[in-house]
Structure formats: structure tokens, C-alpha cells
Amino acid sequence: MIKKEMIAMLLAGGQGSRLGVLTAKVAKPAVAFGGKYRIIDFPLSNCINSGIDTVGVLTQYQPLRLNSHIGIGIPWDLDRNVGGVTILPPYEKSTNSEWYTGTANAIYQNLDYMESFNPDYVLILSGDHIYKMDYEVMLDYHKEHNADVTIAAMPVPLEEASRFGIVVADEEGHINDFQEKPKEPRSNLASMGIYIFSWPVLKDALVKMSDEPSCDFGKHVIPYCHENGKRLFAYEYNGYWKDVGTLGSYWEANMELIDLIPEFNLYEEFWKIYTNSSILPPQYISDQAVVERSIISNGSEIYGEVRNSVIGAGVVIGKGTVVRDSIIMKDTVIGENGVIDKSIIAENVRIGDHVTLGIGSDVPNKEKPAIYSFGLVTIGENSVIPSNVQIGKNTAISGVTEAEDYPNGVLESGETLIKAGERV
């Protein structure tokens, strides 16, 4: 009989709409991070490093990139005879076919998958956080406290606590109450969206709550368990944990990697992060290039100047071009004599010569001020930017743009330029 003590269910179906054009074509967990990685690499690597070899990845929104990235799980050693990684998309049923309508609903629709491994515990993860965490230690905590549900929680400054789901726990860690984005928080422990359930408790809750529309862990399942007298515990985590849900926090988390000794250190032998990288060759730094305070990935060629930036694999930066405070993803090619300031440029973008990004004043974005802020220029994948144009701050561009799209060769700060089509 097949038996796994704990299996993981990784929720990777969300769009992450606050990342704007970065997630127009890919699910948020598949967005590149830290040069050669994708966001989902972090929870997946945590799983294998914690000894969890059975992971179901629930996909829904734009799953192509995720599917090809994960494959059969070779980079994470998750290609197993029994278990390993399995992609779980929504599927048609004889009655009541539906999309994944909420986090708990998605898990509910895969009861059979979980059942087939006969688990004692199920770990629920989301695919959009950057952190290193040993889930086995969390499981030990769960067992020690004889818990039914353990929620990983992180202390946050009390003044920021009103942005989070807060758990109120006693000294033992026993949870008494929950507050969702409270005005007057009674605790500073924020839920990280990482749960360990004892399998019978999870199964019972999911079945009982199956008629709940858009059934969600935070809103429905956890309160249900709490109301029914289950033992809920908070597992306090004090390491590096970063939500990269907004362009600002995404940019910041990338920039933190280039500190002299980064708080989130990718260079440690212990707890390696694995990824699927097809580009192997070393990077070339030419004799006109200047590179400082940056991280650069395999196969890139730098002929210009790169400072305070995170460069993905296979990127080419032309002669005389200056790149500062920017994130440039895989296979993007930037022409000569340009200036790239504080920009996020997604994969496989072509930028012409003499292009200036990030000029002008910090005017809020006209269409989506809540998304395109922080003074960033954001360019979606497979976009094309013609030569000799200037682009302001808080702007977003996607698609194949031509010189006509830039009145007088300028895209003013706060503008959004979304064109159909993409570079093939």
C-alpha cells in the first residue's frame, strides 16, 4: 500500500493581478525572481529540502509556463516512482464541473489525489512567497502539540498588523481567535498562508464545507475548524519571508539579493534553491563593460554598464547602455547607448538603441495607480520597444510597440501602453 506521512498541496493557480503586465501571460508563481529562479522554486525547494517528496501543484490561471518549468520535477529531485510532483489542473466531472473557485475549493476538488497517498498530514502552501522554511520542523511542532491544524505565523510590526490576517494565540501557541485585517490588532502574529492539517480534520472540513461558494482556507475552513473545537496552533517563524504580490515588493525583494551579505542568502550550501535552467554557459563581461553591485545569470553578455541590478539568463546589454536599479529577465536584449533606470523588464523583450526608461517626474499611473507605482517602468514579456524613445515613470508597456505609439518619441510618466500581438 502507498503511504506518505505528509504530502504538500501547492496553490499555484492565482493570477497575481497586482503584478500588472508581468502576469498578463503567466501565473504569478511562474514569474522570474532573483535572476535565474521563478517564484515557485522557493516552496518547491523547501519541500524537497524538508523531505517532502509528494507535491500536488494546483494550476488554473495561464499554466503553460508553470507546466513546462516543472516538467516531471527533475530539477527538484521530484521525479519519483511513487509520489513526486503532479500538476493538478481543474477537470470536468460527471456532475458539477467547475473551475477552482477558492483555495479550499481547489484542494477539495483533489480529495482523490490526496487520498491515494494515504497521508497522515497535509501541508497547504501557496506559490507566491520568497522564503526558506523547514516544514519538517513545523510538522514536529504540530505533533508535539497534538494539533489538528498548525498555522505558520510571523511577527510583524504592530502598526502594520492591520494589513494581515492576524492570529491570536496564548503562550503555548494555542490559537484563541482570528482577526482579518483588524483595525485594532490584538496580536502581531500574521498568518503566512502555510497550514499543516491532520488529514482526517482537513477531509472532514472540506467535505462539510463543500457547498460554500468560493470556499477559502482563511475565510471558511480555518474558522470552521476553530468553531468546531479543533486544536489550532500557531507556529512562529522568524526567518526571511517576503510576499512579492506587488510590483514594489517584488522589486524590493529582488534588490535585497544584491546587498553585500543579503539577508536572504542564495549562496549558502545549506538549503539550496533549485530551478529548471536550460541556459548553461558562463556569462561574458566585455572590456567596455562596467558591472557593480549586481547579480547576473548564466549566458548573459554585458557590453554596457550594470549597477544595482538583477539580470536573468541569456540577457544581452548593448554597448554604452547604462542599467541601474532594474530587474531584467531571461533572454531580453537591450540595444546600445540606452539608459534603463528603475525598470522591471520581463522575459524575451527587445529594446532598441538610444532608449531611455524611467525619466521625468513621479506622476501616478492614470489607469491603475494602485498597481503601477513606486516610480517603476514595467514591461511585459515578448514586448518590443523601438529605438530612440523615452519612457517615463509609473508606466506599463506590453506588446509590439512601434515608433508611432510614442508621440514625439516619448511615453509620459503615468501612461500605459498595451498593444496587441507579441514578438515571436
Binding site: 544584491i258 530551478t275 554557459p281 558562463p282 557593480e292 547579480i295 545569470s297
Partner: protein
């Protein structure tokens, strides 16, 4: 499939000096992110050869570690796959491989059990790209018994460390001299051969009966008038790394854009074992010019006209010029390195100076890294 592959990777070469103390030539790291044998293995897989035997003998630990999984070259298959043959004691035989032909003889069962009609033999110590199917087509068209892939060296290059070849107009080999004292031809054998499997088995068995063990001397040269041995000339990049100077030069060739593009960007790709290292990191004070930098490196100092292999650490105020820094080297602060090959896993103390005065200096320094 029409052919099986054999990669001869057992050799050592004293001209590599200290570099072979810890590994076979085929396991030498090349071009920052690769091992030399990756080129032969990638050529095999890119030529759709699915069954490949690697014959190892000398100091094979490092090579075996590199080949521990065959999936990186797509050899992890039910049909065929990668076979690593190290000498073993059997009922009939208790010797090491006494030569290239003997190495094949001791594993003749592998060839006998195959059904593919042809065999591609290559060595593991050269950097090149080649579609073996083109050579095979030529071999069939010429109705050859053996086809030897050869190359014209540029004027001035030393041919005496290779086998030199003279051919007639039909490309049939007339003269073949192994490592001659004086080279009278600048056409050399690349050590890549195509031969019918049955033919190879016969020749190898025959050589073994006569106590002859070397493929070049005892088969190619001995049979050159008896068998139809043809040359197939390549003009693409091919470089054998088996002297310290050639190893240095081959690596430095990758600083040239045409060589880099040929191997790194043009189809088909070269595969290697994936090492899960983070991107290279450039800290304040880093000054890098005309250099290749591999993943996992951390640079705090100056690097010029050099190649940093994986996971090299360059301390503050270091200067590295015209040098090769191999895998996992730690250079302490204020180190000066010029015209050197720094052996992998070296730890160089701060304020050290190494300069290759007449030619390339090989630096082997094993200090305690974490006591620094």
C-alpha cells in the same frame, strides 16, 4: 539507430602537469561551466546516438561523479543509454586496459550485444561540435572500412603531439604517423573514427590474439594498406586540451565572440550536469573586463581577460589577469594572479602573488579555507 558510440576517456597526459593529479583529462572543466567530455557526449546525443559507452581508467572518480546521472545528456532511457566501463577483473583477464584497442577488447561483449551496424569512436579530451551522421554518410558513400576525422592545423601549430596523416586525391589515407618526431604533414587525426561494428570486432579480436593493444598503431597504421581507410576533413573548431598550454589556450578561445557564439548560441547546444548554483554576484569594488564568469561566483576585485569557473570567490583588491580560476577556488584579499591556472578547490591566502613568468603557471595551494 544506426550507430553506437564509444568515448575513450581513460587517458592521462603528463603534459597536463599537475592538472591530472586529481582527474582524467576528459573530466577537465572547460569554458567555465562544462567538463571536456560534455562535448563528445553532447555530439553523441545531438547526432541521435542513443547508446554510448565511456571507457575510463585513469583517476576516474571525478569523471564518474560527473556521469553519475545520464539524464543531463538525455541518455536516461530504457533503450540504450550511457554505459561507463572501468577495468574489472574477470575470469579471463586481470589486467588494466593496456591500450585503446585493449580497452575495447575487454568490453567486446557490449559491442557484440548491440544490433546497430556502425560504431562511432571518439576521445573525451577534445572540444568540438560535430554531427557524426555526416561522417557516417561519408563513410558509407566511400565504402570505407574505417573513416578517420581529420583536420588541417594552422601553420605554426605543433602537429607532433597528434597522429599526422597524408591522403591521396580520393582522401584515402596513405601515410599515418603517430606523434612523429618531425611532422611532415599538418593534417592530423582528431581521434574520431567511424567503423562498421562487425569490422571493429574482427580487428579488435585479431589484435588481441597478437597481443597488440593500441588502436592507432596496431589497427589504423598496421592495416592502412590492407583496409580502405579514408579521411574526413573538418574545418570547424576542434581543439584537443591534453597539454597544459593547449588547455589554457582552448579556454581562452572562448573569450572570442565567434567561438562563444558557435558553442553557446548556435544550434545544437552543449549539455552538462546542472549544478544548482545562484547567479554570479558582483560586489562593490568589482572590476571585470573581457572575462567569462560562471554561476555561483562572487567577485569583489579585478578580473581581466580571464575565466572564472563555477563558484570562484575573488576577495577584495584581488587582481586576476590572463588566468583560469577553476571551480570552487577561494582567493583571499589582495591576491595577485597572472598567467596562471588555479586548480579547483584551491584556497589562496590573502596577499599571495602568483605570476607565470615563462608560460603558464599551475597553482595548487590547499590551505584550510575556514581557518583564514
Amino acid at each position: 539507430m544506426r550507430a553506437v558510440g564509444i568515448i575513450l576517456a581513460g587517458g592521462n597526459n603528463h603534459k597536463m602537469r599537475e592538472l591530472t593529479y586529481k582527474r582524467a583529462v576528459a573530466a577537465m572543466p572547460v569554458a567555465g561551466s562544462y567538463r571536456c567530455i560534455d562535448f563528445a557526449l553532447s555530439n553523441m546525443t545531438n547526432s541521435h546516438i542513443q547508446k554510448v559507452a565511456v571507457l575510463t581508467q585513469y583517476n576516474a572518480r571525478s569523471l564518474n561523479e560527473h556521469l553519475s546521472s545520464s539524464k543531463w545528456w538525455d541518455f536516461g532511457r530504457k533503450q540504450g543509454g550511457l554505459f561507463v566501463f572501468t577495468p574489472t577483473i574477470t575470469l579471463e583477464n586481470g589486467s588494466w586496459y593496456r591500450g585503446t584497442a585493449d580497452a575495447i577488447y575487454q568490453n567486446l561483449d557490449f559491442l557484440k550485444k548491440c544490433h546497430e551496424p556502425y560504431v562511432i569512436i571518439t576521445s573525451g579530451d577534445a572540444v568540438y561540435k560535430l554531427d557524426y551522421n555526416e561522417v557516417l554518410e561519408y563513410h558509407i558513400k566511400k565504402k570505407a572500412d574505417i573513416t578517420v576525422v581529420c583536420k588541417d592545423l594552422a601553420p605554426g601549430e605543433d602537429a607532433t603531439r597528434f597522429g599526422t596523416i597524408k591522403m591521396d586525391d580520393s582522401m584515402r589515407i596513405q601515410e599515418f604517423e603517430e606523434k612523429p618526431m618531425v611532422a611532415n604533414s599538418n593534417t592530423i587525426s582528431t581521434g574520431i573514427y567511424v567503423i562498421r561494428r562487425r569490422q571493429l570486432i574482427d580487428l579488435i579480436e585479431h589484435a588481441a590474439q597478437e597481443d597488440r593493444y593500441d588502436f592507432v598503431n596496431d589497427i589504423l597504421i598496421r592495416y592502412k594498406n590492407l583496409k580502405k581507410i579514408y579521411g574526413y576533413k573538418i574545418s570547424s573548431y576542434w581543439s584537443n586540451i591534453s597539454t597544459a598550454e593547449a588547455y589554457y589556450q582552448t579556454n581562452m578561445d572562448f573569450l572570442r565572440p565567434e567561438v562563444r557564439n558557435y558553442f553557446f548560441k548556435e544550434y545544437p547546444p552543449v549539455y552538462s550536469k546542472v549544478s544548482d548554483l545562484p547567479p554570479a554576484k558582483y560586489n562593490p569594488g568589482s572590476y571585470v573586463k573581457n572575462s567569462l564568469v560562471s554561476s555561483g561566483c562572487i567577485v569583489n576585485g579585478t578580473v581581466e581577460n580571464s575565466i572564472l569557473f563555477k563558484k570562484a570567490f575573488i576577495g577584495n583588491n584581488c587582481v586576476v589577469r590572463n588566468s583560469i580560476i577553476m571551480n570552487d577556488v577561494y582567493l583571499g584579499d589582495n591576491t595577485y594572479i597572472e598567467n596562471c591556472i588555479v586548480e579547483s578547490r584551491d584556497t589562496i591566502r590573502a596577499n599571495t602573488r602568483h605570476v607565470g613568468e615563462n608560460g603558464i603557471k599551475i597553482v595548487v595551494e590547499k590551505n584550510e579555507r575556514y581557518a583564514l
